[in-house]
């Protein structure tokens, strides 16, 4: 099976500080992967590069069967190509209803003129209802997103990600600020999502990563320190030294 995302030898420095240093990474079309690392290991910069927010100084990022380079594309084009990103802080459009938020995220033509002529169809409404149901917000459809609780906003954002049906999902610290029950729900959801697509979870909570029970990539000072099962990497002396030892 060929890799869905192939990141090879990327480097990025900010004012001389090497945030990413010759990092290589690849993930299959159907896989769940956890990326862990201490603060400043380059996790966020890595996500920024894949989603087009930051351009690396060096290296190559390729996506999909044809190995399309992502470096020449902007954020919107990359998102349309099928890479979704979930931010740590729930970012939903607070001024608009839950239904509007979900409708905006539905897979459809993103061209301004196509959007101008777009009107809800029976199918799109059914899809919005189904999505709201899936994330437990069907009773909140007409409420404004700003009125939702923190947890509900997280779920709304997940619903929006599902709506756009990405092939690769990047999730930034999903467990942050969640209760134990919510964490379990999130774990189940992430595992379920990974049955049909590639999911990369960036996290520094070891317990949460253990629940995910997947292959782990450890970052340190901008490059890959170790890769393998969680038990495998936790036995790695380097990993113990820089991360777990603290």
């Amino acid at each position: 099976m060929s890799a869905l995302l192939e990141v090879s030898g990327i480097s990025k420095s900010f004012d001389g500080f090497k945030a990413i240093n010759n990092l290589s990474f690849s993930i299959n079309a159907v896989e769940l992967r956890a990326v862990i690392g201490p603060n400043g290991a380059g996790k966020t910069t890595f996500m920024d590069i894949v989603t087009g927010k930051t351009t690396p100084d060096d290296g190559e990022v390729r996506f999909g069967e044809n190995g399309r380079s992502l470096l020449k594309m902007n954020e919107a084009q990359i998102a349309r190509a099928g890479i979704g990103r979930k931010f740590q802080r729930p970012t939903v459009f607070e001024d608009q209803t839950v239904a509007d938020n979900l409708t905006m995220a539905l897979k459809a033509d993103r061209n301004p003129f196509a959007v101008l002529g777009w009107r809800p169809s029976r199918k799109s409404q059914a899809r919005v209802l189904a999505l709201a149901d899936e994330v437990g917000l069907s009773a909140q459809l007409t409420r404004r997103a700003g009125e939702l609780s923190h947890g509900q906003k997280q779920w709304l954002e997940i619903g929006m990600l599902l709506a756009s049906a990405p092939r690769l999902l990047l999730v930034d610290e999903p467990a942050a600020g969640m209760t134990l029950a919510e964490r379990e729900q999130t774990t189940t959801l992430l595992c379920k999502l990974a049955e049909t697509r590639a999911v990369v979870v960036v996290e520094h909570d070891m317990d949460f990563v253990r629940r995910l029970n997947c292959k782990v990539t450890v970052l340190h000072q901008g490059s890959v320190l170790a890769e393998g099962s969680l038990d495998h990497v936790t036995r790695n002396p380097n990993v113990i030294d820089v991360y777990l030892g603290r």
Partner: protein, 411 residues
């Protein structure tokens, strides 16, 4: 989630159109030309011009209230629209006058002689006798009407493309738009810009070919045209913001980065709205200046665009009817207070003369609205309709700002 025609989604659209129709009919039956003559012609003109300003405010609301770009150069498009229609008005009228004069000479003038005489008449005031290149289409009404939307539209497209592509945002973008209108004004102030420098274009209230129609009638015609334009473009703007497009541009206003990650080409959306708003504003300007009678580069100074922003802020950003209310109320109040007819306010120790103090009062009310009623006058209607933002006072119960608040948890 049933589908309704966009007109019925919000009652405000029908209310605005109905009020506009009633107002237009009322002014017509009270005018000199078509009724009792209670309203003097000059007041009919003021009403017509106010409707044009309201239309400019609607466009400003699209750009600022919905898209989130505080454009401080919006009136540049307004004035450009005025200049474009003014070129034809001035050329055609001068041509008819000059033609009469030349007809008395022993040899009938050739077309070239006629054109030279017209150019001499128009540009003598800036020491030139040649028709500048920018007046090439001035003889044709359809072409100049096309230019009314094409020139401001192109300017907005090019300016917007450059600014949005570089991801200039917020206050920097506001400064850029202000610089654009100032640069344009300074260029127009020059005598060799081809637009008669600081003299501007004048005599625009006389419509060529309609010499037999008096100003009283013309003023009502322009009132009708202004009301029709406001109605049509209000509908267009309401349609644009009603569906998913409206959703997306409000989302861009609130969190541009997030919209990018949803796959929407943010720059494209900004360009569409900015250009559309520029074209609407230009149409408003093209209807305004024939009623005002004169246009000069001072109309492009940033202060005019800042006033426009103040009207929209006081009326209520993000509500199209708010923009209309703000523009109508504030501009009519402005002309009343600065017209010298407002009675002085005697405070005992000091007599407030409104001509001097109106600007201060306006500035103060702008600050107060921004601080205490960010939704402006339209916020009153929201309150009446029961659309209230949730009260977010109280302690945080969760991890961050979005968390449930103490009072919400109790409810």
């Amino acid at each position: 989630m049933t589908r309704k025609p966009f007109i019925l989604q919000s009652p405000s659209i029908l209310v605005v159109l109905a009020v506009l129709a009633v107002f237009t009919v009322a002014v017509t039956v009270l005018s000199h030309a078509y009724g009792s003559g209670v309203i003097p012609t000059s007041t009919v003109k003021v009403f017509g011009m106010t409707l044009c300003l309201a239309l400019a405010a609607v466009a400003m609301d699209l750009v600022w209230g919905y898209l989130g770009i505080l454009s401080l150069g919006q009136m540049a498009f307004f004035a450009l629209g005025g200049y474009m229609i003014g070129q034809w008005l001035m050329y055609a009228r001068t041509e008819s006058i000059v033609a009469v004069q030349l007809a008395q000479s022993p040899i009938p003038p050739t077309a070239l002689e006629l054109q030279e005489a017209v150019a001499n008449q128009i540009f003598g005031v800036v020491g030139s006798a040649d028709l500048p290149l920018v007046w090439s289409f001035a003889h044709s009404l359809p072409l100049q009407m096309l230019l009314v939307v094409v020139v401001p539209g192109l300017l907005a497209l090019v300016f917007g493309w450059l600014a949005f592509r570089s991801r200039v945002n917020g206050v920097y973008l506001s400064i850029l738009t202000q610089a654009m209108t100032l640069a344009l004004a300074l260029w127009l102030f020059q005598n060799d810009s081809g637009f008669r420098g600081n003299n501007g274009l004048s005599g625009l209230q006389n419509l060529p070919g309609l010499e037999g129609v008096d100003q009283a009638t013309l003023s009502v015609w322009f009132l009708w045209a202004s009301a029709a334009a406001l109605g049509v473009f209000y509908l267009l703007a309401a349609w644009v913001v009603s569906g998913k497009f409206g959703s997306v541009i409000r989302a861009i206003r609130d969190d541009e980065t997030r919209v990018r990650f949803l796959g929407y080409p943010v720059e494209g959306f900004k360009l569409v709205v900015f250009t559309l708003a520029a074209m609407i504003t230009a149409v408003a300007g093209a209807l305004y200046y024939p009623q005002a009678g004169i246009i000069n580069p001072a109309e492009l100074m940033p202060i005019a665009s800042i006033y426009l922003a103040v009207w929209v802020a006081i009326g209520g950003r993000g509500r199209l009817y708010g923009a209309v209310i703000g523009a109508v109320v504030v501009s009519l109040l402005s002309s009343w207070f600065t017209g010298g007819r407002a009675p002085d306010l005697n405070l005992g120790v000091y007599v407030v003369n409104w001509v001097d103090w109106w600007q201060v009062a306006l500035g103060l009310s702008f600050v107060l609205v921004t601080l205490f009623a960010p939704k402006g006058i339209a916020g009153i209607f929201d309150r009446l309709a029961g659309v209230m933002p949730p009260s977010r006072r109280g302690l945080d119960l969760g991890a961050d700002q979005g968390a449930l608040q103490e009072q919400e948890a109790k409810a």
